[in-house]
Subunit: 345 residues, 4 copies
């Protein structure tokens, strides 16, 4: 029997989601997200975000959502500023470029873009003699939590938001792991802060307890117009849209989303502590559901006979950074087994 | 209580699909369609198609599938030949053009593209003095069944396939309603014929009993390479890919797909007969699950108090063509009620 | 010796243009259209258009200009309304689609789009149940003169402009043959009317006496921002931009542009009259520099031994519509020879 | 009187080019590059390249040429490998991304991409678990001479070409300054080497004595098909194509191209030597027509009252790297004046 920690989408969905899908299965509703479930889910999300005028749309997956949002904002000659590690820059097979836009990488540290880096890039562009020969920065993309499990502090987020507003750059937050970020150790950011500081963001469902689904929240009025055209054009308008509405209702009607997130983070920190106790270092200090211990290759091999995890990258001749990922579905007993194994190393 | 006939995606999924999702929910599998469920579903589909070497991929929705397949085939200066009524030409918000390609409309009748029209368009292009000033036709797109419920005969399909091969144009068949087409009244085409005559096609799940999902079958070896890159770039690679595999296993492991299709067509023909008996004409003679009676406006209004259906288009000052759509989920009692109402008109 | 009438770009440029290029050849200027020649040419064009606040940019060729202007205006899910015969729809190898946009063809007659057709298309779109499933009309494209030599009357232009403003659709006029249109027989439109009724248009140089070059005039303030980025991205920013400025100075400093246009039209009408006198019909009644007589195939063959012209299209079994095209460079003696030949038929 | 050294496109064209344009001005030819001048120019270029079967096409400018060639080669999910300093990566306003493709930057030094960096990037991609989640490298782009004046040695070029062939990556060489590279100090590469080692490249005219124009040479048979469609779609097909043919005839019929290149390099090296003699350092050691001395800011200011040059970038608080650029048109007396001034500093 193998315990799987290689990603946060190994299982299906939280059982209450499946139950609700079964209960509602034969109800007839209109398609394309215009049904009453989607409306109710949108209301719940607006309330959770503390913004009653936000537009909420439901899409199926992350790459699709990123491509749709970015394409809806930029003019053709504009690019999106991102950390080099940003998901849009490395793991979406060029979906953003397929839509016609350059990803402009700016300085980042451990997956977190810095406000200074954005400012510097903007100043450089504006100072150019002939800026029209280069791509114009048109928006900023960050991930919360980031691709390496790190999480912006409120001060960092406010600084990024401020520089974005100074230069009229819409700030887009990829929240594929929004819940895990908000539930992370020491996090001083709330969903309401996100809604206050971003222009548009999404709340991930796929990695957070749903079968699939991402809820896009558009806060900035200027970005709301015609977004449904963009969804449809990018192939993201689910015929049976209610499947998304129903799932987000379950996640948001009584705090399940946050509860599942906390569970995942708790298990991840147990794993972190186990490796730390044995003196292993980490590629990056992560307070959320992804942990990146650096292991001697022999030990990584030994662990891999009982546990599945991702090989992240070689750090030197004989050591490898690996990723252990927990999720809403991680069983504490699986973590127990892992911890015991680590202790025995 | 309203009976809904406005489309074939009003309900969730066949109960056996939900059951299977529930049963498998906590199993841990790898993501992105590389799990054993997807492999098994692909095998079942290859067998159903009578082609053991076809590549099978699972995507979420129709627009996404069309954009992905077409983008994977065409060179930048090529276009896709389609009937003017083709879904890609009218109802996908320009997804094909967003991917860089022109939809070249050719002569069609009642939603069916003719082999002659394809041939004529090719001859015109090749005869041009300076063909490079115009878009080069690069493939052919047809729908089976078509957007207006009509279905190609085997002879028509063979003729189109022959002209495509003569001009080296890959033939792509949109099978969002493949089952309803194959189960249509008088149909002499089988899924094996489809697999023999097309270069690539898909078998629709969304409108045919699944929660969502379309199974792309690539028959032509030249079109197989790197298709997974295309899926990912177009935002169609579902993280929990097994959800698609599981659904298509249920649909194809013991004939459920065909059974549900036959059910839908049977109910549609009952509706057709009821309108016909009362002397109503039809926009188009459809042998499949979509029926387009032409109704005096007063009668359309009267029906709409109890039944939901789509207004298709005005045909003259006082008459409107409407669409009644059945599906795998249509209850015979709902059709009974509709028939009774029609008789009473 | 063959006389060539097959197009309006058979020769180089008006001699005064070459003279000016020679005179200024060793002057050193900054690149990319920011030199004093471009500034002066822009001033001359603003004056000719009666609009001192218009932005004027110089590009090299027509397809490039169309792609650049359209890409600068539309959002990704929008399309451009055009006559089916529009250059962007048939003779630019899908450059507009390559930029991501659908060309939406609307009703037209003899190459002229009608205001009614635009209105109808808009009403249809707005009346749709779920307009976001279809491409949103985002602007209107017309050609002046049209691809078949016809020319809008002032009343027609005003009607199109009015419907465009009613629906907030920017009106873009392709003026590759602007001069020939304005100089056409019976034309009641002036360049100032064009500048008043369009949001953006261009004044063609390539077919009108320059070596190459098209002057884009942006009248609508909302369309001015960042246009130089669009030019550069679309490969239209000439390094030695002054070559364009110098040419348009020559064409506009003392009326040469209009003078050359009148010459071309005068010669074309002589050709028209000759064919007419002999009883030949025409594909379309053209008052400008392109004439489309319908000839029995034998006569077309006979003419082709001494004169080059374009075969336009077969009109029936034994007749073909051909195109005779004059230009700024057409020698009256060549026309004399053609007329004599026609008379002798 | 200011002497201009800020770029290599400050003047018009070599006088013999203008003479030839004047002589041929009233000759009537067919358009779009299918005239006898283009054919003759193509022959001359094939001979200069030592490859009688290459396809030769003429385009107007560099950005357009890069976008056209790259778009003609890559499949949608592929990217082009380039040095970070590559023109396509920084100075084309995202034209490559507008065409749908990511620029994949790989390790480079002083503007020169290394074979090792290409190999490493390929190995990384192929070793990935799930390569389809990332952009597939599809070709390699290098500049000869590079954007910072440096030039590949024959050994370096052969190494890059070898790694490209090993991984089936077409090698595209941007030759906007091909002549200046070939004529550079110590260069051991010939045009025939370029034609032997690249799959496609272009020979720049714009910066090398022509009014404008770039000659694309396609060596690899697999890349030849339908290239004219790509030119047209990308707005690069000049109506009066002969203007390009005539210019390249003048440049290649009796060695003018090489002669002008040598002149420019000679003058650049005189400038280099003058700065070097005074003890100034350089941003990069350049053997070609662009020189990048590092100057104390006060001295840069002093020079700028008599000479125009480009500010490249600040290297520290008080020093700036600047660019002096010579060309086919640089007058030795201008260089004399500059040298004298430098000596007097």
């Amino acid at each position: 029997m193998m315990y799987q920690f290689q990603c946060d989408y190994n299982e299906g969905a939280h059982p209450r989601i499946l139950e609700r899908l079964v209960e509602t299965n034969f109800e007839q509703t209109v398609g394309y997200g215009e049904d009453h479930y989607c409306r109710k889910a949108a209301d719940l999300i607006r309330t959770a975000c503390g913004n009653q005028s936000a537009d909420v749309h439901f899409l199926v997956g992350g790459t699709q959502t990123n491509a749709t949002v970015i394409s809806s904002i930029l003019r053709p000659y504009q690019g999106v500023i991102s950390a080099g590690t940003g998901h849009i820059n490395v793991h979406e097979t060029g979906a953003i470029e397929h839509g016609g836009h350059k990803v402009l990488t700016a300085g980042s540290c451990n997956g977190l873009l810095s406000a200074e880096a954005v400012q510097e890039l903007m100043e450089l562009h504006l100072a150019e003699d002939g800026p029209e020969h280069t791509v114009q920065p048109g928006m900023v993309y960050i991930s919360f939590s980031s691709e390496t499990g790190t999480v912006y502090s409120l001060a960092q987020l406010e600084a990024i938001s401020a520089v974005c507003r100074r230069y009229s750059l819409p700030l887009f937050i990829d929240g594929a792991r929004m819940g895990y970020g908000l539930a992370s150790e020491g996090c001083d950011v709330t969903l309401k802060d996100i809604a206050r500081l971003a222009d548009v963001f999404y709340i991930g469902g796929t990695k957070q307890g749903a079968l699939f689904g991402e809820a896009v929240v558009i806060v900035n009025d200027a970005l709301k117009k015609d977004f449904r055209y963009c969804i449809k054009q990018n192939g993201g308008m689910l015929a049976k849209g209610r499947l998304l509405g129903i799932q987000f209702i379950v996640l948001f009607e009584d705090g399940l989303y946050h509860e599942l997130s906390e569970h995942a983070v708790r298990q991840a920190l147990r794993i972190r502590d186990a490796f730390e106790s044995k003196g292993f270092g980490f590629l990056v200090e992560s307070p959320s559901n992804q942990q990146f211990p650096i292991l001697p290759d022999g030990i990584a091999d030994a662990l891999s006979s009982e546990f599945m995890f991702s090989v992240w990258r070689k750090v030197d001749e004989s050591h490898t950074a690996v990723r252990f990922c927990t999720s809403w579905a991680t069983r504490p007993e699986a973590v127990d087994a892992l911890i015991e194994k680590v202790r025995s190393l």
